[in-house]
Amino acid sequence: MNQSKRLDSQSWAPSLFVLGLCIWSARNLSDIWQSDVYARGSVWIFLIWLIPLIAVLTRQIRTGRWEPDFILLILSLLSCLIGIFGSLNIARHVALGLAVGGQVSGGFWKWLWLAGMLSWLPATGWLAREIPGNGWPLRSGLLVVSLAFSYKWWKGGLK
């Protein structure tokens, strides 16, 4: 029991550390969401996108099956380091999304939910700038599809 607890903390401490590092690295997101004409208001999409993760995280904690996804955490670290060394915002923002997703375990459907980060990434707004509505219909559509996949993720975790 004690051994198990000790190993659990060994797993969780670095995953939270990676999340903190990625939040620090992507700290310009709040400014971008406020000032960037192609990304303004995407903070709301980000918050809605987080809801399934919070739901799964809460359930995993309640059932004692809280387990980080190390593949995602490694990917988020690599992306974060590319973002810091290369001074590349998109890599920093993707790193944040991966680090957030890496806080909980999950399979195929979680990856599809994760792809929904395209709905809040500032780069999406820039790429979709030619689409009428400043890319908002595209962002909203991506969010809805992502939430639909997250339902399958949630249901899969009940088995």
Binding site: S4, L7, S11, P14, S35, F70, L81, G86, S87, R129
Partner: protein, 204 residues
């Protein structure tokens, strides 16, 4: 079985710690290493030639704030035959985020992009924009300049600037963003104007 899983977890945890700590140390080293910039190139831009003269214009407080540590010059260029225009050059070596798609700035300051097209020149490609705000029309050009070529894709700029940083300068020079704006509604695409712009190229 369970022990096997936890052993892998502990191993993975160690990997995460090692990469995180190495990453932080490398970040600190990179932060304190002096970065090579292109200030000399900006300063070498000619102020006059047989076809034009120019006058440097001070940056506004807002521009200084946006540029941060990046270097920039702004000047009004007076062609001997033709209308004056505003010429800006930004070197983002010390602050990569100061250099971004100029369409952001135009749209952000209330201009509407009514049309745009790519133009081929002897040095490479430039992007021509037609802007409109409050019934006024202006023309603008922008491109990224390297010793090898001119190009207009911000994605290529990100790629080159990132590769340069990740290889500590071995992947090439930092592209310099050049932006030209008309002061009236005259087009900027005449051969005479493009020839002046070639003379103003910091990497020439």
């Amino acid at each position: 079985m369970v022990e096997g899983r936890t052993q892998v977890k502990a191993w993975q945890s160690r990997i995460l710690w090692v990469i995180s700590i190495l990453g932080i140390l490398l970040t600190l080293v990179v932060e304190f290493l002096p970065q090579k910039d292109a200030v000399e190139q900006l300063l070498s831009i000619p102020t006059a030639d047989r076809s034009f003269r120019s006058q440097e214009t001070p940056l506004t407080d807002q521009e200084r704030e946006l540029l941060g540590d990046a270097s920039a010059i702004k000047k009004v260029v007076y062609p001997h035959s033709g209308d004056p225009f505003l010429f800006s050059a930004i070197d983002g070596s010390r602050n990569r985020h100061a250099v971004h798609d100029p369409r952001y700035c135009f749209v952000g300051s209330g201009w509407k992009i009514m049309g745009e097209q790519s133009l081929e020149t002897r040095r490479g490609t430039v992007q021509s924009l037609i802007l409109e705000r409050d019934g006024e029309q202006r023309h603008a050009l922008f491109w990224f300049s390297t010793p090898d070529q001119w190009f207009v894709s911000p994605i290529s700029f990100w790629g080159k600037a990132t590769a340069r940083r990740l290889t500590f300068g071995l992947a090439g020079e930092e592209p310099i963003l050049l932006v030209v704006q008309s002061l009236g509604d005259q087009p900027l695409t005449s051969p005479a104007t493009l020839e002046i712009l070639e003379t103003l190229d910091p990497w020439k």
